[in-house]
Amino acid sequence: MSDKHNTPAEKTINRREFLRLTAVGVAVAAGTRAVTSTKASSDAPKGKHQWAMVIDQSKCTGCNYCTLACQAHNDVNPDIQWNIVVADGMVGDMQIFVPRPCMHCEKAPCVEVCPVKASYYRDDGIVMMDYDRCIGCRYCQVACPYEARSFNWEKFTGENPAVPEWGTPEVERRPRGVPEKCSFCYQTIDRGLALGLTPGIDPDATPACVNICPTGARMFGDLNDPESLVSRVLHENPSYRLRENLGTGPRVYYLPAFAEKKEA
């Protein structure tokens, strides 16, 4: 082989050939990919159900029950909150709150950027984390516009202070070195559906934060079902989503608080 490459004439031809072959190879690979890659990670999910949450800010009192129930049911480290309640401005003389779970975006930046597909879409729109696959690079955390992801800087050991008062753990604790976030209590939804229940109506099929809310500020249901509570509420009321201008398409909708509603 080496003799061959010592001749300049052959070398140039080979180089040119190599270049051409490379170009052809790349073109073929790109073409094949364009044709075959109909299902990419960024394809918006189109399952039978499309879960969504509606939060009525005129009803939220900032009691933090949702946070606590979430901590218990998902066995979350007390240093981490999947479901945080943030104080916002005032309407009249009433304090307004923004409870913030994961937005389960239709075009989720975390899913797009994850190098190993540890973040992915379920068919029902839930943005899931595969904690066994995640390498802990934290690109998703950097990309999330809602600070919805918390990294396990340390291993969560010991007792969960929210258990048993606020519920019992339904999922495994996440290991050290991966980020974690709200999952819309997928375990409850899946079990409930298997039992023939309807998420959003039957508490046994509904996320913990929705069940616990004492004022009924949180609603959950299927956007594909026009008769579901969330579909009707969104149809009849003005609503907004967080950082909507980014085009992420959150599945958590907020009903803004108006002065007259809050007083009532």
Partner: protein, 412 residues
């Protein structure tokens, strides 16, 4: 007896050894206790180590740029410098790998990035390119490693085989150019696609990363060669060659400065939530010194003048200063870019004000980071001493030999 042992060389190795030992301890602590012992937070999840990772890749870019120049654009006489650059590149990319292994939360799953593909992720692309390019660099560096005296004596056949890889240099240069162009710019795009952080979200990011990498990578290689030739007789440089490449770096700097300055300037015209706050951080805030002095003044303008003004350029000391400043400026650019985007905390609650957070690397992070750099210095020092990495006379002879053989083979 003591005098015999304590030479500048052993003192240097001892100094590096101490830093490496500190890093080893820090590394073991990180693997044992987790990233909780760093000062990284959920708001600033990328810090010092990411900067070291980005910088070593950027400063390793001399390898692909110079190899492309030598083997693809026919600038054969610069081959000795490309040879040094290849070795510097190999060191840079292994440094980056070390930094990444430390930085990821699940180091034992590093192989997941090769097995589970998300082709939409820029980090996936960067990982694939870096792994493939590291392989290319290993092949490119084989003729250099074949210089090891021990290898030549003990395994002459293998050494000869490794040396023959030299003949495939043009092919490796093509692959290297492609892979490097991809991941050097994609590292910029890694930041550039993050819409949630307006300071990063712009298409120029990839162009700036690519340009700064070429400028910084060539500069570091030239600086390292010159420094080595000053310190030891093992390194032999052809100063005219280095000076000519340094002159070229001066012109490259004009291009880099043009893009960088316009990029910064264009963000000043209107208030843009997040972006303007980021601009404040680098122009008036805690990063102002880095931006104005390290990046702009000493990272671009001063070296540009030195490298383009002949009397200054031909002075070896000032040329070395200029080249080092360029490399430092590129590191500062990586640090500023990464940290500014993270320090500006964009509110997700409507109507809330944009906040700032802060980050200072912990002692553990500094110790481990210093050890990664010390590893690079050790590898280069050993390379100069035992592999004749900086030896501009060596390759020229080989080249002459190849040329003669070629003429005979053609049979003129």
């Amino acid at each position: 007896m003591l005098k015999k042992i304590l030479t500048p060389w052993t003192a240097w190795l001892g100094f590096l050894g101490i830093i490496l030992l500190g890093g080893l301890i820090a590394g073991i602590l990180v693997f044992w206790k987790g990233l909780g012992i760093t000062n990284l937070t959920d708001l600033v999840p990328w810090g010092l180590w990411i900067t070291i990772d980005l910088s070593s890749i950027a400063l390793g870019a001399g390898a692909f740029s110079l190899c492309a120049g030598v083997y693809l654009f026919g600038l054969k006489r610069y081959q000795p410098i490309a040879r040094t650059a290849t070795f510097v590149g190999l060191i840079g990319y292994t440094m980056a790998t070390l930094a990444l292994i430390l930085d990821i939360g699940k180091p034992e799953r590093f192989w997941h990035s090769l097995v589970y593909w998300n082709t939409h992720s820029l980090l996936w692309e960067v990982t694939m390119c870096v792994v493939l390019y590291l392989t290319v660099l290993v092949f490119e560096a084989m003729p250099i490693i074949a210089n090891l005296e021990w290898l030549r004596k003990r395994l002459p056949k293998i050494a000869a085989m490794m040396e023959r890889v030299h003949h495939y240099a043009p092919f490796l240069a093509i692959v290297g150019l492609g892979l490097s162009s991809l991941h050097q710019s994609s590292l910029g795009a890694t930041y550039g696609v993050i819409k949630a952080r307006p300071f990063w979200f712009k298409p120029e990011m990839s162009v700036l990363f690519m340009l700064s990498a070429i400028v910084g990578g060539i500069s570091l290689t030239l600086f390292a060669s010159m420094l080595a030739s000053r310190l030891t007789s093992k390194a032999k440089t052809n100063d005219a060659l280095i000076e000519r490449v340094a002159h070229f770096v001066g012109y490259l700097l004009i291009g880099y400065f043009y893009f960088r300055a316009w990029d910064a300037l264009s963000t000043t015209y209107t208030y843009d939530p997040g972006r303007s706050e980021g601009l404040n951080l680098i122009t008036k805030g805690p990063l102002a010194f880095n931006f104005w002095i390290v990046e702009m003044l000493f990272g671009m303008i001063v070296p540009m003048i030195i490298l383009l003004y002949k009397p200054a350029r031909t002075n070896r000391f000032w040329r070395m200063v200029a080249l080092l400043l360029v490399a430092a400026g590129v590191v500062a650019f990586r640090w500023d870019t990464n940290i500014t985007g993270l320090l500006v905390v964009m509110p997700y609650v409507p109507g809330q004000a944009i906040a700032y957070t802060s980050y200072k690397p912990s002692l553990i992070e500094i110790m481990a980071g210093a050890a990664i750099i010390a590893y690079g210095l050790t590898a280069f020092s050993l390379g100069v001493k035992y592999l004749r990495v900086v030896d501009h006379s060596l390759i020229e002879e080989e080249h002459a030999k190849v040329k003669v053989e070629a003429v005979e083979a053609v049979g003129i």
